[in-house]
């Protein structure tokens, strides 16, 4: 039972990055009236990159190559602990969310190091932005977990998310928590309004500029890891909303989660089509909205427990 759920979990984690990116792009092209790329276009792109011979700057050290693989493997490790289906994760133990957050942090550090390794000012600039925005995103995630932890009294990520559905104030806090997670998704997966994945100007990029000098299989690893990060956050949003418990009702739980993830991708695409990227100086304020939303739900839990 658990093994088959784990297999499904892995299948979703590994395949959804490609589908979600395709869906976001398809949504965006639908808004501007283009036909758009195929849904699985990014799979072809990755396959093409895997066959290429990379070009490496003479300035680069071995850390440049290490970066791509550390980012990918850290993403996979985090994926094994994030409960994208609801109350289930293949690797589950108490306080695993700390490991998730810090594994992703390790990935971020190596992304920045491999960006700075080629010695280009553009990439250093991107690394600085990534790091400073991360300092605003990280507390929001922990506030969110703190809320869930106080509400449920559980200690593992899957239990926190799963048991949240049965707490008395679930109906009130689900909206702010979803907003917080959506903002985190936009920040971590480099989507509009935090970052524009389609821009052509290095000076306005964040994530793209950091992988500017990557090529071949290393670029494929980086791009796949970035798409996987989006999948993980979309999966968390799905798990937060999904009313079915995958342990009790596996078919409905998995299907609803899948549909919700696709809806999140469409929502991300719609936001990208309808809004422009924020000026860099407003991004921290935008990320603070996530923290404020999580703080608000904390307040609801606290006041609710005090009987207000």
């Amino acid at each position: 039972m658990n093994i088959s759920l784990a297999l499904i979990h892995w299948a979703i984690v590994l395949s959804m990055p490609i589908l979600l990116v395709g869906l976001v792009n398809r949504t965006k092209s639908w808004w501007v009236g283009r036909k758009g790329p195929r849904l699985f276009q990014s799979a072809y792109d990755l396959w093409r990159l895997l066959g290429k011979r990379p070009v490496v700057s003479t300035t680069a050290s071995p850390l440049f190559l290490a970066g791509a693989y550390v980012v990918l493997i850290c993403g996979l490790l985090a994926a094994s602990m994030i409960p994208i289906l609801g109350q289930f994760a293949p690797l589950q133990f108490s306080h695993d969310f700390v490991v998730v957050a810090y594994t992703l942090g390790l990935a971020r550090i190596f992304l920045m190091i491999s960006a700075m390794d080629v010695g280009s000012p553009f990439e250093g600039m991107g690394a600085a932005r990534e790091a400073s925005f991360a300092t605003f995103a990280e507390p929001a995630l922990f506030l969110l977990i703190g809320t869930a932890s106080a509400a449920t009294g559980m200690t593992s990520f899957a239990d926190l998310i799963g048991h949240l559905h049965h707490t008395p104030h679930y109906a009130i806090i689900v909206a702010p928590l979803t907003i917080a997670l959506l903002i985190l998704l936009q920040a971590e997966a480099a989507r509009i309004p935090v970052d524009d994945p389609m821009t052509h100007l290095e000076l306005t990029m964040i994530h793209e500029v950091m992988i500017l000098d990557h090529s071949g299989p290393e670029l494929a690893a980086m791009q796949y890891a970035a798409a996987m990060k989006m999948t993980l956050y979309a999966g968390l949003i799905a798990a937060l909303i999904n009313p079915f418990n995958p342990l009790a009702d596996p078919v409905a739980g998995v299907l609803v989660s899948l549909v919700l993830m696709l809806i999140v991708a469409i929502a991300v695409g719609c936001i990208e089509s309808l809004s422009a990227r924020l000026p860099m100086r407003w991004v921290p304020a935008y990320l603070l909205i996530a923290s404020v939303a999580a703080l608000g739900s904390m307040l609801v839990i606290g006041l609710g427990a005090s009987g207000v």
């Binding site: 011979r53 990379p54 490496v56 700057s57 003479t58 300035t59 050290s61 071995p62 190559l65 290490a66 693989y69 550390v70 493997i73 490790l77 133990f93 108490s94 306080h95 969310f97 700390v98 957050a101 810090y102 594994t103 942090g105 390790l106 971020r108 550090i109 920045m112 190091i113 700075m116 390794d117 080629v118 010695g119 280009s120 000012p121 250093g124 690394a127 790091a131 400073s132 991360a134 990280e138 507390p139 922990f142 506030l143 977990i145 703190g146 809320t147 932890s149 106080a150 009294g153 559980m154 200690t155 100007l201 290095e202 299989p217 923290s291 904390m298 839990i301 606290g302 427990a305 005090s306």
Partner: protein, 590 residues
């Protein structure tokens, strides 16, 4: 006890011999040998006590009015002694390389090594002192010896100023400590810590609160908590690298030792004390972390990160205090265990980072981030040690910083029923800790990237390869420690198990062991998984890097392709367009 007295005598003898009119190299040799001997002799009693042997007590007759001097080595003191002494020795080894150019000059190097011995003596006195006078005496030896070590380069006025600043600050701290001791003495008519503890655990109230505040102020000054940190960046930037390392990683841990010691004496602390410690430490961690971001001087940056890390350990102690108040063994175990483990881990990676900074200084004669660059290829060992320390200090797996912060987070997100508001407040603290982690990752990655990656920014700096082996070996030993404690966290937990059990004397034992056991299992699993993954990544990278020999390595003249340090300089000087496109249109490079 005899072994400890023997260790003190060896160290004092070594210090005395160092001052004789002999060759500098001989003096250094005497200093190092006496440090090794003293460490081994002390270990012979310290390690059994740490691993659960009964406490060792001893006394030495002394004249009125001080009376007989009592010593007691318990698990807490043994924990601090077990790593302080060998790390001081490693600092001495590093000093041989760092002070290399003075060996054949008239400059008296013996004083330096004698002072390092005196630092070890002060550890033995402070960590075993049961009599307040020995405690204060050791405290003062450490302060004066550290001051004299800081002003090694005394002809430089800035260094003298930094040293004076440190001297004044540490003595202001001493005034608070003496005030607290005077209050305790007037009520107990005794010099002994045990009697202090007896009085404090039975007389909660205003006076005990005053004593607590005085002590926290004093220990805060010693360990450079936030509002009392002003001496720290100056002293760390002015001192020789190994002295900065020892001060930050080892000597000023005495403040945290004393804090835990007095919490132990308090018996059951009031609830506000735990919250006060947590808030005080969170502010320290936040401010220290934020200070690191804007520093240009690598050693100042590392100095400010000490303020941040003592804050993180302090959060652990605060949680432990709350656990003592609420009779919750889980919180005590995770709080004090995590805090003490962080102290140990910080000693490992902070010394390592300062040693790396010293290697950079030795080769390039600057630690200014804006002038360095591209050192990875010249100094690969230093660079790898720096990045290992950097990942550890950002509390990321698989290195040791993660293990201790994981324990502290486990305490913050406790599953025990402690009330919703308390849980929410601890959740806020966890968010602050996450912010601190992200900020320190930012500043340390920036420092690493700017110093070791890319290309050199200043061609006027001296050419040079890796620093001397005397410096590399201690640094690599620390790096190995950082890695081993991260991949096999059980070792670190075994070291803090004794002192943590000491904190829980009054509690049922079974609950406690169960609590730590689950943490140990989880941490072991994480450590092994991440260690195995690190090995896999290493293999993949090695394979890819070999393959890269055949790959297309590309280097373009900087004027054509906007890459390399020349371009970054061009941006600084506003010459971007002239330099990149003398003949073509301005935006052709975009």
């Amino acid at each position: 006890m005899n072994q400890l007295i023997l260790a003190v005598l060896i160290l004092m003898l070594g210090a005395g011999l160092c001052l004789l009119p002999i060759r500098n190299a001989t003096r250094a040799g005497i200093g190092l040998v006496s440090q090794v001997l003293a460490t081994l002799v002390a270990w012979s009693v310290v390690i059994p006590v740490l691993l659960g042997a009964p406490d060792i007590t001893g006394e030495m007759p002394w004249a009125y009015p001080i009376g007989d001097l009592h010593f007691r080595l318990d698990a807490l003191g043994a924990f601090f002694l077990s790593w302080s002494l060998p790390m001081t020795f490693l600092g001495g080894v590093y000093a041989v390389g760092y002070m290399d150019k003075y060996f054949n000059t008239p400059r008296h190097l013996g004083v330096h090594f004698a002072l390092l011995n005196m630092i070890s003596v002060s550890f033995l006195l402070v960590y075993t002192g049961e009599h307040t006078v020995t405690f204060l005496f050791g405290w003062e030896i450490a302060a004066l010896a550290a001051w004299l070590l800081v002003i090694w380069d005394y002809p430089n006025e800035k260094v003298r100023f930094a040293g004076f600043n440190y001297l004044v600050s540490t003595h202001i701290g001493l005034i608070f400590l003496v005030a607290a001791v005077m209050i305790l003495y007037t009520h107990t008519h005794s010099w002994f810590l045990d009697d202090f503890g007896d009085w404090m655990s039975h007389n909660p109230g205003t006076l005990r609160n005053t004593v607590f505040l005085l002590l926290v102020t004093s220990f805060g000054l010693k360990s450079a908590f936030f509002p009392f940190h002003s001496w720290l960046p100056r002293a760390h930037a002015a001192a020789p690298a190994h002295v900065s390392a020892l001060m930050s990683g080892v000597i000023h841990k005495a403040g945290l030792y004393a804090l835990v010691r007095f919490i132990l004496l308090l018996g059951k602390p009031d609830e506000w004390m735990g919250w006060f410690l947590i808030v005080f430490s969170v502010i320290s961690a936040l401010v220290g972390g934020l200070y690191t971001v804007g520093q240009r001087d690598l050693k100042r940056l590392l100095g400010y990160s000490s303020t941040e890390n003592v804050g993180i350990a302090g959060i652990g102690f605060g949680i432990g205090c709350l656990g003592l108040t609420w009779d919750s063994p889980g919180l005590v175990a995770l709080g004090f265990g995590g805090g003490l483990l962080h102290v140990l881990n910080h000693a490992f990676f902070k010394c390592q980072l300062f040693y790396a900074a010293g290697c950079v200084y030795q080769v390039k004669h600057v630690v200014d981030l804006e002038r360095l660059g591209g050192l990875f290829k010249l100094m690969p060992i230093t660079a790898l040690c720096f990045i290992v320390g950097g990942i550890a200090i950002s509390a990321l797996p698989p290195f040791n910083g993660f293990a201790s912060e994981f324990m502290i987070y486990s305490g913050l997100f406790t599953g025990e029923s402690i009330g919703v508001w308390a849980k929410l407040t601890l959740g806020l603290v966890a968010a602050a800790l996450a912010f601190v982690g992200a900020v320190s990752a930012l500043s340390i990655t920036r420092a690493f990237g700017v110093i070791f990656l890319g290309n050199s920014r200043d061609s006027s700096l001296p050419e040079g390869r890796e620093a001397s082996r005397w410096m590399l070996v201690p640094m690599c030993i620390h790096a190995v420690g950082t890695t081993v404690l991260g991949v096999v966290p059980v070792l670190g937990l075994a070291m803090v198990a004794g002192p943590t059990a000491l904190m829980m004397r009054a509690m049922p034992v079974e609950v406690v062991t169960v609590n730590l056991q689950s943490t140990i299992e989880i941490l072991t699993r994480i450590g092994l998984i991440s260690g195995a993954l690190a090995v896999c990544i290493g293999l993949v990278v090695w394979w890819r890097f070999k393959a890269k020999k055949s790959a297309h390595r590309c280097s373009m003249p900087p004027g054509l392709w906007l890459r390399g340090a020349n371009a970054s300089h061009a941006i600084h000087r506003g010459q971007l367009f002239q330099r990149t496109s003398p003949h073509t249109s301005k935006a052709s490079w975009c």
